[in-house]
């Protein structure tokens, strides 16, 4: 029997409110939210690894695999159903992670970070040299159907928005349960003291292997949704700056709650789009100052605002 706590009720409510809001918000806002929530899914994976003490600068690898699975599924294999494509992307990413994980789980700290970055850049290099896949220009993604139903443009965007909200909300719920399960606690224990975990008779390597696979699946889902929403994919998805953005958002939100990546991803999207609008020449500087501000004043991320309030009440 699953114990239902306040966070879960909150998450479910937030998901329902977001889903319902899809009918009222203007299209541009729905699009920004779709992209932000898709990104939040990837960031969930990054946070998952951070909770186990690992920082990945190469999550773009699985993000890109998810995106290309959706694009290539439509182009070369004639699969056009969004849920099938997303599932295919997630499976492809997990399969790849199952191989790479054997190597990656041997490394920690900066070595893990650098190696993950290197692997994603290998995929970038391969894609850039593949002129059949459009090299750096990438290619367009065919519009997909949803469980066999096809929609016209307006309804298509709404359907995709709903799917993204449900996946982001559902994914967060699952991760919340995982974080509070024995496995989740063990990951935190590995972060705190890996040797002690070994003395408990557990293998940190295989625990981290599971963590790596789960993070890859989330990244691929995010990548697939991004590809469907944008309608175009290119190798930039696996470039290191893309992976850096995920780490940026993870730090922005903090790692203490599964809702944090979602809040941070949405805030990041808004800060960026308005920074571009108001200061087109210096928008990167604004983003930089925001991160600096968060690190200096809220070292545990945005979510510490919520936490500190709770503590003050108690």
């Amino acid at each position: 029997m699953i114990h239902i706590d306040r966070s879960m009720v909150g998450l479910a409510a937030a998901t329902l409110i977001l889903a319902a809001a899809g009918g009222f918000v203007p299209d541009w806002l729905a699009f920004i939210l779709t992209l932000a929530l898709a990104k939040a899914l990837v960031v969930q994976g990054v946070v998952l690894q951070m909770r186990a003490g690992l920082v990945s600068f190469g999550q773009g690898l699985f993000f890109c695999v998810g995106g290309y699975a959706v694009g290539m599924g439509g182009h070369f294999f004639g699969i056009n159903d969004a849920p099938v494509l997303l599932l295919a992307g997630a499976l492809a990413a997990v399969a790849l992670a199952a191989v790479l994980g054997l190597l990656m789980t041997r490394y920690r700290d900066i070595f893990f970070a650098m190696l993950s970055l290197a692997l994603s850049m290998i995929l970038f290099g391969v894609l850039v040299k593949s002129s059949e896949l459009g090299s750096t220009d990438g290619f367009n993604v065919h519009p997909a159907t949803f469980f066999g139903l096809s929609f016209k443009t307006e309804a298509y965007k709404t359907a995709l928005y709903l799917l993204t909200v449900l996946l982001a909300g559902g994914g967060a719920l699952v991760l919340h349960l995982v974080h509070h399960s024995g496995l989740g606690r063990m990951w935190e224990a590995i972060r705190e003291n890996e040797i002690r975990v070994e003395y408990l008779g557990l293998s940190p390597r295989w625990l981290l292997y599971a963590n790596y696979l789960l993070a890859a699946a989330f990244a691929a889902l995010g990548g697939g949704l991004t590809a469907l929403a944008t309608g175009h994919i290119d190798p930039e998805m696996s470039f290191w700056t893309t992976s850096g953005e995920f780490v940026f958002i993870a730090l922005l939100g903090g790692t203490s709650h599964v809702a944090a990546p979602m809040v941070a991803a949405v805030l990041f999207a808004f800060v960026r789009t308005y920074a571009i609008e108001f200061t087109p020449h210096t928008w990167q500087m604004i983003l930089g100052f925001v991160l600096l501000g968060i690190i200096v004043f809220l070292p545990k991320g945005l979510w510490s605002l919520v936490r500190s309030e709770k503590r003050a009440k108690a």
Partner: protein
């Protein structure tokens, strides 16, 4: 600490209010245009900044009604032009997001922009979906209208990159140079790969039996080309072709020149014109440069180009290069189409469908001469292109172009319905080169 947290919250709340604030629709009696170009990153210096400077000069002059005829009507159709400037840096996903913002939040009447081919390919279906008249001013991918076969809202006033390379091959052969062995150095991404593919195919057609001695594909923004220059020099080709642009191109020219790479052989740079004033004598005389069309130093002398050159020089320190001309051409095309669509009803914004209807197959005057929107079902400009040799006068410290040879659009552009690759392989059927 508590205080700071409260302040942060207050700022965030303010930001939230700002985000929720609806931006006024373009019903303020102005013609609103989204302008998208690189304002940061490696493409900003050589392309983005000259193009945005060109746009500023033109839009200011149009709003004051100071542009010579036939563009002496104030703004666009008598309405002041209001621009929303967006940075193109950051990848195609972000550009799609920003394009949707332009269309739906800013409610722009049209969008002009995009240098990166990847961005153009990603924006094209979105522009068609949202029904926003969109003018691509620079991106050169041949795939644009191969993928968007029935364009309605998407236009391109710049030329296809295949034309650069077909004309480059023709220039080399027509100028009677020794072309028996060729070598290439290209940035390893879509632009470089496509350029080299088109160029080698074209030169093999024009000069059967030509040998490729080496092809170098260093990664983009590498900056140091010591090894590649050695490989090129050792393979001893008659001609070196490069589609390098920006800082990479300048680095290649500087490093290659210092090592005598360009002595005793021809070298052709398809994007060379954008650095004409920046070489400052550090490039070897006789280097063949292109400007991706009749732009920049290749622009013909006419009232509009003379006016633009003077107006640009009054506000900027260096000469306008081809990206500035191409941007101006895109905006002039939009203005011509909008005014034709308004059909004499000054002071109104024409309907989007009327605008795109008027734009397709339009012939308009530009800083590069007459532009014919006659390809890709009336959505792609057909224009000539020219190549010339770089010459630097140490006394006047001015660079100039010699031995310029221009090719008509019909000579170097594949007919509709044929891809550039197919057309070159078939031996340029129907090309009209006028001797």
């Amino acid at each position: 600490m508590k205080n700071i947290v409260q302040k942060t919250l207050a700022v965030m709340a303010a930001a939230g209010t700002l985000a929720a604030m609806p931006v006024h629709a373009a019903e303020n009696g102005k013609f609103r245009v989204g302008v998208v170009t690189f304002l940061s990153g490696a493409a900003a210096g050589p392309f983005g900044v000259p193009s945005i400077n060109g746009a500023k000069v033109l839009v200011d002059a149009l709003n004051q009604g100071k542009v010579p005829a036939p563009y002496n009507v104030k703004g666009i159709n008598g309405l002041e032009i209001e621009t929303v400037v967006i940075d193109e840096n950051g990848g195609a996903t972000k550009q799609v997001e920003e394009f949707r913002n332009l269309a739906e939040r800013h409610k722009v009447d049209a969008v002009v922009g995009y240098i990166s081919s990847g961005d153009c390919l990603a924006i094209s279906p979105v522009a068609e979906e949202l029904g926003v008249p969109t003018v691509f001013f620079d991106c050169g991918t041949s795939r644009l209208f191969e993928e968007n076969k029935t364009p309605r809202y998407v236009f391109r006033t710049g030329l296809d990159a295949a034309i650069d390379n077909i004309a480059a091959a023709r220039y080399l052969v027509d100028s009677g140079r020794k072309v028996e062995a060729i070598a290439g150095i290209q940035q390893n991404y879509a632009w470089g790969q496509d350029s080299w593919g088109d160029f080698t195919a074209a030169i093999k057609q024009l000069k059967p039996g030509v040998k490729v001695t080496t092809e170098q594909f260093p990664k983009i923004f590498q900056g140091q080309y010591g090894a590649e220059i050695s490989a090129l020099a050792l393979s001893n080709p008659d001609v070196i072709h490069s589609s390098f642009w920006g800082g990479d191109m300048e680095a290649l020219v500087l490093q290659g020149n210092a090592r005598g790479l360009f002595d005793k052989r021809s070298a052709i740079l398809t994007c060379g014109e954008s650095a004409l004033d920046r070489f400052k004598g550090q490039a070897s005389n006789g280097l063949i440069v292109g400007g991706r069309g009749p732009f920049g130093a290749f622009a013909p002398k006419n009232t509009l180009s003379d006016w633009f050159h003077a107006a640009y020089m009054a506000k900027n320190e260096i000469e306008p290069t081809y990206p500035a001309y191409k941007m101006v051409q895109a905006i002039l095309g939009l203005k011509a189409a909008a005014e034709k669509a308004a059909a004499g009803k000054a002071g109104t914004v024409p309907g989007k469908d009327a605008l795109v209807g008027a734009f397709s197959n339009l012939t308009f005057e530009s800083v590069s001469g007459s532009v014919n929107m006659s390809r890709a079902k009336g959505h792609q400009a057909l224009q000539g292109i020219a190549y010339g040799e770089y010459h630097y006068d140490a006394k006047t410290k001015k660079a100039s172009l010699k031995n310029i040879k221009a090719y008509a659009g019909e000579c170097v552009t594949p007919p509709d319905g044929t891809t550039a690759g197919e057309w070159i392989k078939a031996g340029f059927p129907g090309a009209k080169c006028g001797g």
